[in-house]
Symmetry: C2
Subunit: 408 residues, 2 copies
Amino acid sequence: MLKANPERLWDALMELGRIGETPGGGARRLAMDALDGEARALLRRWLAELGLAVATDRLGNIFARREGTDPDADPVVIGSHLDTVPTGGKFDGAYGVIAALEVLRRMADEGLATRASVELVIWNNEEGARFSPMTMGSSVFVGDVALDFALSRTDPDGVTVAQALEALDEPGETVAVGGRPFAAYLETHIEQGPLLKEAGKDIGVVTGSFRARYFVASVTGEAGHVGPTLMEQRHDALAAAAELILGIEAIGRARGRDGRSNAPHLELSPNVRGVIPNAVRVSCDIRHVEAGPLAEMEAELRALCERVAAERGVRVELAQYFAFGPIDCHAAMNDMVRGCCEELGLSTMDILAVASHDAIPIMGYCPTALFFIPSETGISHNEAEWSTPEQCAAGADVLLAATLRAAG
Amino acid sequence: MLKANPERLWDALMELGRIGETPGGGARRLAMDALDGEARALLRRWLAELGLAVATDRLGNIFARREGTDPDADPVVIGSHLDTVPTGGKFDGAYGVIAALEVLRRMADEGLATRASVELVIWNNEEGARFSPMTMGSSVFVGDVALDFALSRTDPDGVTVAQALEALDEPGETVAVGGRPFAAYLETHIEQGPLLKEAGKDIGVVTGSFRARYFVASVTGEAGHVGPTLMEQRHDALAAAAELILGIEAIGRARGRDGRSNAPHLELSPNVRGVIPNAVRVSCDIRHVEAGPLAEMEAELRALCERVAAERGVRVELAQYFAFGPIDCHAAMNDMVRGCCEELGLSTMDILAVASHDAIPIMGYCPTALFFIPSETGISHNEAEWSTPEQCAAGADVLLAATLRAAG
């Protein structure tokens, strides 16, 4: 059975990881920044070496196409993303792109012909760390998010996505976003938690997801001088936000392994040492496997906001800005992936996605499979994120087998 | 008895307040930014119209000198600052400078000769909102802070004080910082709390201060993906910081009107929506009138940091970076100010400074008096900060009388 070249796969992943390498051994490539641009250029070079035509769409998604024998067949698309969070690891996203590259390289080695074309995709801005919302490239591609809206999003310095793309100044053809069908989409990714490692399994097949709701809680208090303002006079927006942060944490903690809650991002005003904070925006989210408990969590969140507002004489406005889940996984695609694993002698388990991935908006667009390789450290979005060369090779073997099956 | 011109005083204060005016009727002029530069230029123009020589020292403190009849007498210095916090009012600092300007204008109207020279000073960067530490200009002048250290401080964009001064590119002579004695220093300022208004008094004579200690609590947790990371795996630095913020608030609240505590400023890493925060720096301070309770508050703060670190498996390091108080007020100078108030028919009360002012480092340098006019709204560092034209005129009358007494 045809397998990936494990050394070439690992070497490419490590070479990519040197772009934006952090002191702790992770990677920092925020979407469309100069280092992300370098990573994109490296992939373009590798894809050109395979003789593939590379096109970029108006949102910065990159496609490299290996033609099939049937010009009427829709392509089988494989890939992931290259952007990272500010102190991310070398695997999240990058691994899925490099595994897809290895599939194309292996096909070239063997001179394989497939009926359907095979395309490698690099989705732009999956993380949403510099520009919100996340999974931007894939969401616009499938029509879930409007192109003009995405292009107008700004980073903390006020730079728009359109400006960031212009600054990249990339060569080659620019094409429309979306508007063409895929026969199938396959993505492999590092697991971002500890479950595969705990269970001792090789491959996690994503069969569903948590349900997640994302909010911004906007707290408005009253500015004042930190010294002369009496404690009894105060309406400190940051102290109110601190109560929200702890209350939100408690909502997730009470749900064990089936729930999550986060308040990881603040916007502070004026955030200087001499002024009682007058406004804080708390980005937060709640997640649960089941709909009923998620609704309860949301009710608790709303009650928390009301209580803090009443007790502290501040205003708290809660606005939902994003949601994901439940997702419609494709049973036939997952069966196909499990079949490939069985032939390769790899063990599998079903696993839920707790966060979004590019594959998730794509699930509403074409038959899709998303599968994970284990994380040795059980953590992600952290410089210590790690999988072994063997684990990486196993995922690429599965991707290769599944791609050949899907493309015929 | 000679009095200020109340209309001219108010008009000048309002004209100055239009530079950096905010939608809510306050002012935003961060030290050495373009708007602060405009305000400085306006004062230079007004001082030049009085025929005064204007000199700027290497830290950007501005001095305008009206010569006395005795060339050997040290000058009497009057003034305050022009910089504001990001959403400040039109009175904090600005009022003290405009009252000093009115003193010089009134002396010019009358062609008054004094034995000692009278100098108006505009201290640079009192607020410390853009560049820490606060009261920078006056502290360097008296030798409490080294000039090179101050010039090397950076704002959040990495601009140094030296670069910011160069960008101002101001005309005229640049002189050494400090190194010359003052006969006396007088400063009037808006009260930044509600006490004068509550007591129905015209002038607050500063007879002492709170004692304040300023710290940074550096929390180090562990980054992770907000989704797949189990709640039980987490060491969330922001949740730990939220406990600190609420614990710090409680420490001040327990002391009634004699205590204060603040945690108004955070530095967050990575502060993106997809990552559990790994590091948060909390700037905080504690204040009390008495030494014993302040020491207890500090012990509670240290215990809080240790408890949060132990319970959450994070590291918390507490480092003191600044302190002020108790201050040595000058009884004879305060008696002189009270005498002026009595002659003017103004009521007085003794009041404590809860925050620093430029007069406070100066107290160790020469005989000094600092006195407050009432705040109508009882708040400061807020766009709603306000005093009436009559309250402003009364303070300028006192400053004029005290200046003439001190300068002979």
